[in-house]
Amino acid sequence: MKILVAVKRAIDPYVKIRVKSDNTGVETQNIKMSMNPFDEIAIEEAIRLKEKNIANEVIAVTIGPDASQETLRHALALGADRAILVRTDKHFCSLNIAKILQKVAGDEQPNLILMGKQSIDGDNNQTPQMLAALLNWPQGTFASKLTIQGQVLEVTREIDGGLETLAMELPAIVSTDLRLNEPRYASLPNIMKAKRKPLDIIECDDLNLTLKEHVEILATTAPESRSGGIKVASVEELLNKLQNEAKVLYREKK
């Protein structure tokens, strides 16, 4: 079985982001970038399926500028067999990203596509569902467990209020939730080995896709900041403030 894993280069989750003063976006110059954490989970799951001999090839794919090669090398160091960069300097909305991935999936014919449930920059949580729609494949979103038996995939999904298990025919798309697995670290020998693994670069413009504009970003602003609060000295004072100052707590008088 062949698995395609889509990964994204995003601002490192531990960086405190800053909105640009002209409201055109967030500062990305000289900011630490890394693989979107949900995508690391997707890579890890693919590698585990390979270690169980369910998968025989794991391909990592990303869409972005030249610098995205770092993210692909990281995927290769974790255990992916080869990588594909669809090179572009443009910023695409989720639907156009899904259309590019649809083209890659058409060329590669994977049995399973694994993706993170959302990227931590746009927080959209859309691309896997959109790609599933375009390919007309079943979707197992927010997965916390998967098992594959023959041509059937069983996915346990994290939903509001608990878990839901679905069974679906392959090929299918799975988007990963945090609890699916704990991603491994890349060892130094594997980082060295990853440098020799194949990384194909495809120019986005050569894909012959007509990608229209669906959305225009008008502004990016900083959220309203909360005014600094006060520290109280005792439980009594806290309750008093909550009742009489903030008026968010009502106690019946006995």
Partner: protein, 310 residues
């Protein structure tokens, strides 16, 4: 043109998130149609028809929609889309699973977690875990939006029930099958809609000691939440998690106990009206956003708080 709201329900009753979604839909100032798709879900349609401002309810009752799988529902909604200029659902796991699939089938964009409607085609939504707000203009003819429920006050008014139109339209999608549900049952208010939320973090030390948070919640009539650290440590199940990757809450009172206040957690609760932090580390980041901070040992402070509340 009209606006379509996809009703989230369990075939017996409507989920409260639908009321917030309707409130957002009203701001688009068009005829409001509600879609109730499920199995033996007539009661949900009746409930929906009595909500103030609803123009019509479309009821699609068929065994194939019993578990409201995205594959089936997306096909159904796509077939109805030509009558609408906007399609809305709550940004719950239900809405997030479904609407991007609908949008892609319609070849239009989808805006996630809309927190403000500025014009018919201009919306605000949070990005980077709520650390930035993006204003976007949708260029497509149909606006497909998931609504951040905590950003809109739910519609609670009633009206004489509007017309319920029965639509018979089975789905041809059969590749996905429902296997089972495992729901965590709780007597307490629902985390997403509670007025008061009490959350515990790693500072609680164990699942046994986390019961203290539950006692405090019960004394306040509050819902119980948790930080990712508490979930990962196995103190509570993961659907308690408040944060960027868990639930986003905005109650009137949020009490964070033994939570340091990582960016990930703050993204899920910083829109609460009043935030209280109880932590022994006076430099914990949570104190920077808390209206009231109490520095000290939670194992002394929380029992005292419970005692004084009783």
């Amino acid at each position: 043109m009209s606006t379509l709201v996809i009703v989230e329900h369990d075939n017996q009753s409507m989920h409260s998130s639908t009321r917030n979604t309707i409130a957002a839909a009203m701001q688009l100032k068009q005829n409001l149609v509600l879609l109730v798709a499920g199995h033996q879900c007539k009661a949900v349609a009746e409930q929906a028809a009595a909500i103030e401002g609803v123009h019509a309810v479309w009821l699609v009752d068929n065994i194939c929609y019993e578990h409201q799988l995205a594959e089936n529902l997306a096909e159904l909604i796509t077939s109805m889309a030509s009558s609408f200029s906007a399609i809305l659902a709550p940004s719950s796991t239900f809405g997030k699973n479904l609407l991007p699939r609908v949008a892609a089938k319609l070849d239009v964009t989808q805006i996630s977690d809309v927190s403000r409607i500025i014009e018919q085609d201009i919306f605000e939504h949070p990005i980077y875990a709520g650390n930035a707000i993006e204003t976007v203009k949708v260029l497509d003819p149909i606006k497909v939006l998931t609504i951040r429920t905590t950003a809109f006050d739910g519609v609670n008014g009633t009206q004489p029930p509007c017309c319920i139109e029965l639509i018979d339209k089975p789905s041809s999608e059969t590749k996905t099958k429902f296997v089972k549900h495992e729901l965590s049952r709780s007597e307490r208010p629902d985390l997403g809609s509670a007025k008061i939320v009490v959350s515990g973090g790693r500072g609680l030390q164990s699942a046994e000691k986390f019961k203290l948070i539950e006692e405090l919640a019960d004394a306040l009539g509050a819902a119980v939440g948790a930080s990712r650290a508490a979930v990962d440590a196995g103190f509570v199940p993961n659907d308690y998690q408040v944060g960027q990757t868990g639930k986003v809450v905005a109650p009137t009172l949020y009490i964070a106990v033994g939570i340091s206040g990582a960016v990930q957690h703050l993204a899920g609760m910083k829109d609460s009206k009043v935030i209280v932090a109880i932590n022994k580390d006076e430099d914990a980041p949570i104190f920077q956003i808390a209206n009231y901070g109490l520095v000290g040992d939670l194992f002394e402070l929380v029992p005292e708080l419970i005692k004084q509340l009783k």
